[in-house]
């Protein structure tokens, strides 16, 4: 539903003087917005603007540059289309800016109170000077006490620290970590950090500093899922889906979360946020490079097939370094299938912040276990693996932890 709108001069633009089209500010086919200037007119006194009477595409130009623009002559036409609303966007940005700026500043009246004092620094504020010193000397600021307002670390504090350190040792550099030198060492090589390494390092450190990690270990009899997998592998493959053990672990974890929802949560100062959805991340190793955690979104509604499909898709993408931001975000719970590379148990598995727990699956091994048959203790060979849950002990206790793991074990061992 587009209409054609004529571009004409207004009455006061034609009054009294001769006008010539000096310049078209838009070309044929270009988008124009209502009230946007589109023509510059030259009169013998001043330059004037002609604004677009509608939004749309500049369809035709009838009066060209250098030609006279007279009253009632159609200068051009616009094919009217829906507004793309850049104007509204600007308004919203501006509204936000006004919100953010305190009242006294946005009015820009002359400063009447030059005796107003200095702003209050947050205790964690790191000034440019301190930042520079930290970088220059590779410092760990957590070692330094702040003497500034609100106990912030000042450059004086850093300089004092540096001169103390320099005083107490004859080291050439003022590094925080001692360098390891031994008479028999053959020297060392520096492997520069990749971006992924830096991110992992920061994340792991932050996580450990934030959450008190405690791990509980159970073991799993995988016979049932091995059997199930054997029976269904081909059917899944026909659908283009690889059926892996991880799929079963994901499915079982979802069940166990439904049974014990608190492990699927985020700890806040004011309370524990328990999620109603399960976005399940699973650690994927990238060889020597590092690891990445793709997330299966809304896993609570998925059956085994869907889980397996999603796993396949995300794993392929991960291996090809093609995961999007969205695909690694929003996780509420994480599984680490560390056993595929040989470890029996790993503890603690570092929690994927800001989640409350992480599930670890160890290496699958045939082990001799003791079972009671007809009142008699028998040695039986079973395909076993250890399963662990590392929790944030601020959020969870042994009760929820073992409740979760018990249920997880029950689901896996009873799979049909």
């Amino acid at each position: 539903m587009s209409s054609i709108v004529e571009i004409k001069l207004t009455a006061d633009q034609t009054e009294g003087t001769k006008a010539t089209v000096a310049q078209w500010l838009k070309r044929k086919g270009e988008q124009v917005t209502i009230n946007e200037p589109i023509i510059e007119l030259e009169t013998d006194k001043v330059m004037m603007e002609v604004i677009a009477p509608a939004s749309g595409i500049l369809q035709d130009i009838f009066i060209r540059e250098g030609e006279p623009a007279e009253e009632n002559i159609i200068l051009g036409t616009i094919l009217e289309t829906a507004l793309s609303n850049p104007v509204n966007e600007q308004k919203n940005d501006r509204a936000k800016w006004v919100e953010d700026t305190p009242n006294s500043v946005s009015k820009d009246l002359p400063r009447k109170n030059p005796t107003a004092g200095l702003p209050d620094p947050p205790s964690t504020f790191i000034s440019p000077a301190v930042r520079r010193l930290r970088q220059q000397h590779q410092l760990d600021l957590s070692q330094i006490t702040g003497s500034g307002k609100n106990n912030r670390i000042t450059s004086r504090d850093v300089n004092a620290y540096l001169s103390d350190s320099a005083g107490t040792s004859n080291r050439q550099h003022t590094l925080f970590e001692p360098t390891i030198t031994s008479p028999t060492a053959a020297g060392s090589e520096i492997i520069p950090h990749t971006q992924m390494r830096k991110v992992i390092a920061e994340h792991m450190q932050h996580s450990v500093q934030t959450a008190p990690h405690v791990t509980s270990v159970f073991d799993l009899d995988l016979s049932a899922i091995i059997q199930h997998r054997k029976n269904h592998k081909q059917a899944f493959a026909k659908q283009g889906t690889k059926l892996t053990f991880t799929a079963y672990f994901v499915a079982a974890a979802v069940q166990a979360i439904k049974h014990q929802p608190k492990v699927n949560s985020q700890f806040h100062e004011h309370g524990l946020e328990v999620f109603k959805h399960v976005n399940l991340g699973f650690g994927t190793a990238l060889g020597d490079e590092g690891l990445i955690v793709p997330v299966i979104q809304q896993a609570q509604n998925m059956n085994l097939m869907q889980i397996a499909q999603e796993l396949t898709r995300l794993t392929d993408k991960a291996r090809n370094m093609q995961l999007s931001q969205k695909e690694v975000q929003g996780g509420t719970f994480t599984i680490s299938n560390h056993g595929v590379s040989g470890s029996l148990v790993a503890t603690p598995i570092i929690i994927n912040q800001p989640q409350s727990a992480i599930l670890g699956l160890g290496k699958m091994e045939k082990r001799v276990v003791v079972e009671q048959h007809n009142g008699q203790d028998m040695m039986v060979i079973k395909p076993m693996c250890y399963v662990s849950l590392t929790i944030d002990h601020r959020a969870l206790d042994a009760y929820q932890t073992n409740d979760f793991l018990s249920h997880f074990k029950a689901v896996i061992e009873a799979w049909k």
Binding site: T115, L118, R131
Partner: protein
Amino acid sequence: MHLFKNNEKQEHTFNWQHIAKTILTSRALDDLEEFDLVKQKKVLYQFSARGHDMAQIMLGQILNKQKDAVSGYYRSRPLLLSIGIELEQFLQATMMKQGGFSDGRDIGVVFNQPNHDGACVLPMSGGVGAQYTPVAGWAQAIEYHRTHLKDSTWDESMGLVLGGDGSVATNGFWSSLTMATTLQLPMLFYIEDNGYGISVPSHFQTPGGNIVKNLASFKGIKLLSGDGTNPEEAAELISQANHHVRNERSPVLLRLTVPRLNGHSAQDTQSYKSEERIQFEKQHDPLPKLKKYMLAQGLIKASQWDELEAQTKDDAYQAYLKVDQQPFADPAQVETHAFEEFDETGSPILQQQGGIHLNHPSFPPSSQEIIAEPGRINMVTAIRKTLDYELSHNNKMLVFGEDVGAKGGVHAVTLGLQEKHGEAQVFDTSLSEEGIIGRSIGLALAGLLPVPEIQFRKYADPAEEQLNETGSMRWRTNNRFAAPMVVRMAGGYFGCGDPWHSQCAEVKWVHAIGWQVAMPSNAEDAVGLLRYALRNNNPTIFFEHRKMLDHAWSRRPYPGDQYIIPFGQGNKILSGDRVTVVSWGGMVHMCQTAIEQTGIEADLIDLRTLRPWDKAMVLESVKRTGRCLIVHEDNLSAGFGAEIAAVLAKEAFFYLDAPIERLATADIGNPHDPKLMEHALPNPDSIAQRLMELDQI
């Protein structure tokens, strides 16, 4: 109507062939620019002079003495053609090419032409009315050179100023009229009355529209009036005027009526003129009248005239073709010559005209070493001693202003100087700051060193136009002209304050183009900075703080007649590593008190000059301490402290450990009641408090 006083008729022999050739050339240029080059956008601002031309050309012919000077305004090209400036140069200027009057920096009709051996053209202003007082200054300089320095090259010379009928309403006109008549200056005021100031008729500018009639009883000036389109009459009147100025050494105002046969500029369609008026003007075109006169007098043959007309048209066109091929001004050079510059060997690249340095004066030796006399003196005495010494060793130096002479200055700084050095070198002026600074321009351009006094900083307001023209002169003439001078201004707080006598507002001159700014806090610095300014080739504002002139803290032993402090060197009064305090002028002593009161180990830097300022010293300090407090008396918003803070935020960013702080007066005037004033300005207690906050944050 003519008014002949004393019925004199002194004839100057005019070169009529030259008049004819020049007027035809002028018309050819007008036509070429207005009808061709403007349309091609090769000339952007265009002013034709049809109707004004003949009389101006005659006037140009009388400027034949070695030290004549002329200034005019945007319609003065015919006169400049008449004194021999080349055709090409005018087109280079209007076409914004390299060379010309300003190397593309100014519009083509703001003329200037250095000349030490014949009529020079003082750099004009784009502002109407600003041309007058500089010419008065030149005329005063002629008499000084002639009678006091006994330099005969200045004999018989005059200053000529052109203005339109609109300009007789301006401040500059009246100020220069006062000076010319009270001082009896050899100055010729030429008023070309075309009846309009752009669109405003002349009866808005003076009642009845005839300035000569209205000045009839004005003492000390000869008045002449007539028809500038009548060749014989114009020649006669110009001749009379010329004779009177040169021989009587007394001013003349010559008014000639002329038609403006084109719009104000190429943009003006003259829709405000009636058809009758336009016809009337056409009938008074001096060009056909000149032709008729010359033919009748046998001064030219008709065929010669036609030949001349064709030749001048062709000359103009050929000049255009030549200039059209020439390069435009080089953008890479546009920032040069705001101040005096130096070549690779360190030698100054001197302006072509203006100031005392062209003669390579030998000053007495100077050094930064202090050779102190015992006992301390206050800043008043220190400044006086410096002025006295420099006056004694520089006969081109003039000290003047309101009450400067007999009274010795309202602040007593110039006490006794007139008695010692005489009225020619130290003198009082009329009550017009426009006149004081305007004449300083003329004096400087005539090779003297003016040291004008502005009695109180606030009273620089009427002088602002001339102060701005001074500062911008070197840049806008591309170093053809400069007008070095030392403007002494008193201001700042005293026992009480008030909005008229206690203003600082020194930042205004840092922001303006081309001014150095010095603001000493004590007697020793005052000596060194003043001596530097008096021997420097740039214009300087020298701020004399009223309270510090006689404050105990400011007293110092006289550092010696050799003592000099180059601008751009701060003084570190106290040393410490915790905080940097930067200040100048009347706040320095308060900062010292505050620092000592708090016991905080701080660097206290007295900048002493604001342009140039000692950036290196401040940066070194702030990079070390990480914390900076700037204290100044001027209002906070956009005061000079804001500039320092901006520079620190950029160049010391990675060394800052605290926000950069400024303490200054609120954005108000200086209050009169001492209690109000004490509260409004920074004081040792408020400085101490802010210092402690900064130290502890």
